[in-house]
């Protein structure tokens, strides 16, 4: 007869461990959130809408905290949270604290559908704020319209958010890919006219929107190579060497990049490996210097570093994180140091704070006891004249829901992003030329 080891003790221990894990898990709250108790209730605040109480406003978001899009983008929501904490500490909005719940969707649209349903149906958020990603947010677009939840400041430059007839709840924020591409391409034409150009773009709405804009300004006879990649683990697993080699073989002297940070880094590394150094002009989506430096170093396991990104040209609709003379950057940096110090300080941080600031402006404009419809109306009526950290106006009106209308060019140098020259504006349509915007950016208000 076999002597069987006594398994019952193991089993008991295992059951206890699993039950303990599960019990501990059920105890916590189900998402990341900020809330503050320093609300000055004036007594006239009411619970005017789902997600709004007399003392709080609750908003939700879906963000890629894990997965291929996480590098860089995972800093945005903590930066917004820091801005909301600052605002809450200074009286909130009409005395209400902003409670920001953001969920990880791993850049997988099926997860986005699940977490946004949780936020809207279970957490009863007042609005979805800064939902990140084009394919991810597209998965929940019709759901949000059906549920009539304001869908504010989508963190994606797709021009598909500018559709007030079909998607009245949805508003873009950043300069859309086509406008940005037109600005970058008109800079290319101004400085490298006649040179051979290559495109390397992400094979989705982001990249294809960019190509649309590039083609409006760059004559097609100049474009000698068009390469694309898929923003999936499989598409990026082997680097972008094939695409970069093809562009080099075609003889391009200037390469227009519509790439996410990890793809930009892979492109720069592949080019360094084959000794190819064209002029790189990259979308703001994939051009943040600290993010790139970190990726260059980690992907190459320390062999390459930030030097590869020197000279890369990009553009931005917000002041550069490295511009210490700009009063908005000074303010954002102090908020970062106080509330968000464990996160890096870079363009993603500035973005997160800028969009959070814009939300605070919107809630002020919507009135003391707004309904969801009031917020949408406030953006359409007043949003176009908001002034803030942006270098150009927002494009909001009753007929347009797109965000910033232009950008300023900058160059990456030694880890900083130095912006100079005129600020450009345009629209998506091929009839509109790229013109300069001559407004000045105001200083931040003393209270908000």
């Amino acid at each position: 007869m076999n002597i069987r080891p006594n398994r019952s003790a193991w089993r008991v221990a295992a059951v206890v461990a699993v039950i303990g894990l599960v019990a501990a898990a059920c105890g916590g709250s189900s998402s990341k959130s900020t809330s503050s108790s320093t609300a000055n209730t004036s007594g006239t605040n009411t619970a005017s809408a789902p997600g709004i109480t007399a003392t709080t406003i609750t908003i939700g978001s879906h963000q890629p905290l894990t997965g291929p899009a996480a590098p860089g983008y995972s800093e945005i929501a903590p930066a917004s949270t820091a801005m909301f904490k600052y605002v809450n500490a200074h009286g909130g909005v009409y005395g209400r604290s902003i409670n920001y719940i953001y969920e990880d969707d791993g850049y997988n649209p099926a997860n986005t559908a699940t977490v946004v349903r949780k936020l809207v149906l279970q957490d009863n958020v007042f609005a979805i704020f800064d939902g990140l990603g084009t394919p991810t947010h597209e998965a929940v677009l019709s759901f949000l319209q059906t549920e009539k939840v304001p869908d504010l400041f989508v963190a994606s430059g797709c021009d598909c958010w500018d559709n007030p007839t079909q998607d009245p709840e949805t508003f873009g924020f950043q300069t859309d890919y086509t406008i940005e591409a037109k600005v970058l391409a008109s800079y290319e034409q101004a400085h490298y006219k006649g040179e051979k150009v290559g495109y390397l773009f992400q094979n989705d709405d982001f990249g294809q929107g960019g190509v649309k804009g590039f083609d409006q300004e760059i004559p097609s006879s100049d474009v000698v190579s068009r390469q694309s990649y898929d923003a999936t683990a499989a598409g990026l697993a082997n680097g972008l060497g094939n695409q970069v080699s093809a562009i080099k073989a075609a003889g391009a002297k200037v390469v227009m990049l519509d790439t996410i940070p990890v793809a930009t880094a892979l492109t720069l590394l592949a080019a360094a490996e084959i000794g190819y150094s064209p002029v790189w002009i990259v979308s703001s989506v994939g051009g943040d210097p600290p993010t790139l430096a970190g990726l260059l170093s980690s992907i190459s396991k320390g062999k390459a570093g930030a030097s590869l990104e020197n000279g890369v040209i990009s553009a931005s609709y917000l002041p550069s994180f490295s511009d210490t003379t700009n009063p908005w950057i000074t303010l954002f940096k102090s908020i970062h140091d106080q509330y968000d110090a464990s996160e890096p300080w870079d363009g993603n941080t500035v973005f997160g704070m800028a969009v959070a600031y814009t939300f605070v402006q919107t809630m002020h404009a919507a009135g003391r006891n707004p309904t969801r419809a009031d917020v949408v109306k406030a953006l359409e009526t007043d949003g176009g004249s908001f002034t803030g950290p942006g270098l150009v106006p927002l494009g909001y009106s009753t007929t347009h829901h797109n965000g910033y209308v232009g950008e300023q060019i900058g160059v990456v140098e030694n880890g900083a992003f130095n912006m100079s020259g005129p600020v450009y504006r345009t629209t998506d349509s091929s009839g509109t030329p790229v013109t300069t915007y001559s407004g000045t950016q105001p200083a931040p208000p003393s209270t908000f």
């Binding site: 059920c26 105890g27 894990t66 099926a110 923003a231």
Partner: protein, 365 residues
């Protein structure tokens, strides 16, 4: 009671149990919130897929790491037929299962000579490669952005204000019941006995007159159909199909769910489905409760999956369902036999042998 008269026949027994469960679950669904009904639909989708895979691997001994691809086939079929063509829901669901079954037939035939790790490798290639087809045929299959899937509108007699999420939950409950009845009948039939014979000893099964290759392909087809139906419901619930939703992680997750739940048992599929939907949520709650560093908390759910898998395999090799059965047997023998006796012996038998004997019972709960 269950051995009286017509209830002695397995088919009737299964139908009765299924009907009772449908009624109970419909009533429960009525008390749940809209979001919880949505979660019921997600769980149902996974339960169906896991049940098929559990049958294939536990009962027929074939390991498949590619069932996420069959879910994708069913999901895309639903997207194309339900949203593009507006076909009736029941037909769409049936066709999703059928197309996935066809894919399973092709795969099963192609992999008929493969065993063990070689079969796993071939199905792994399927899991990685099939979703890439959607990027190749972007115009019809939506490419990376994918295709939207309209939520099924409730049938008119339920009234205009019937919660679509509750309707979705009801539809998915019915699908689970239908699947479980069909699988339970299959398992108790001669096909089910043939499956187990092939799993245990192919040569002996062949000598007994079972056509081994045909039997294995049949198991593949049935399990692929289940995965297709699960994928269809998943698509209807989330409202989107796209390649990022059907990665290798999904295939492994379904297999994990089947193993943790109890390989070869239908009850185990229910545990597996619940776990697949709730484990990521629990992991998030845990990391928030412990206020962990963000780098750790973002990846905690994957780590927790691994921990739960290891713990369950060590403690209950037959999965949670095996553990439940063991507890049931221990309780029963304690009450039925005298002091000492069968009770302690029951607890001492390694649970690994349980599915062989219990699989024939064709549990539906």
């Amino acid at each position: 009671m269950l051995s009286a008269g017509p209830l002695r026949r397995p088919l009737v027994r299964h139908l009765v149990v299924a009907l009772v469960l449908i009624v109970v679950l419909f009533l429960v669904s009525g008390t749940l919130s809209s979001y919880n009904n949505f979660q019921v639909a997600l769980i149902a989708a996974y339960v169906i897929a896991v049940a098929g895979l559990s049958l294939l691997t536990g009962l027929n001994g074939q390991i498949s790491l590619g069932h996420g691809a069959f879910m994708a086939v069913g999901a895309y079929t639903t997207a194309l037929l339900e949203t593009h063509q507006h076909w009736p829901l029941a037909l769409v669901l049936a066709l999703s299962a059928v197309t996935a079954a066809v894919a399973g037939l092709v795969t099963g035939l192609g992999a008929a000579r493969l065993r063990g790790p070689y079969l796993a490798g071939a199905t792994l290639a399927l899991a990685v490669g099939l979703p890439e087809l959607t990027i190749k045929f972007t115009s019809t299959l939506g490419g990376e952005s994918g295709l939207p899937v309209n939520p099924p509108p409730p049938v008119s007699f339920l009234g205009a204000s019937f919660d679509p999420n509750r309707y979705l939950a009801w539809v998915s409950i019915v699908c689970v019941a239908v699947t479980m009845v069909l699988l339970a009948n299959l398992v108790t039939s001669r096909f089910g006995r043939a499956f187990r014979a092939v799993r245990d000893d192919e040569v002996a099964a062949s000598l007994s007159g079972i056509r081994v290759a045909g039997n294995q392909v049949l198991a593949f087809v049935v399990s692929a159909a289940c995965a297709g139906l699960g994928g269809a419901i998943y698509a209807l619930a989330t409202g989107i199909v796209n390649p990022a939703g059907f990665t290798l992680v999904l295939s492994i997750a379904i297999l994990t769910g089947a193993v943790i739940g109890g390989l070869g048992t239908l009850g185990g599929a229910v545990w597996g489905g619940i776990l697949l939907v709730y484990l990521p949520r629990w992991a998030e709650s845990l990391s928030n409760g412990l206020k962990l560093n963000k780098a750790i908390s973002s990846n905690l759910s994957l780590g927790l999956y691994g921990v739960v898998l290891i713990v369950v395999i060590l403690a209950f090799p037959a999965g949670l369902q095996g553990g439940v059965r063991q507890a049931g047997r221990a309780l029963r023998s304690r009450f039925m036999s005298g002091p000492g006796g069968a009770g302690s012996a029951g607890a001492g038998v390694p649970a690994g042998t349980a599915p062989v004997a219990q699989g024939a019972g064709g549990e539906t709960s």
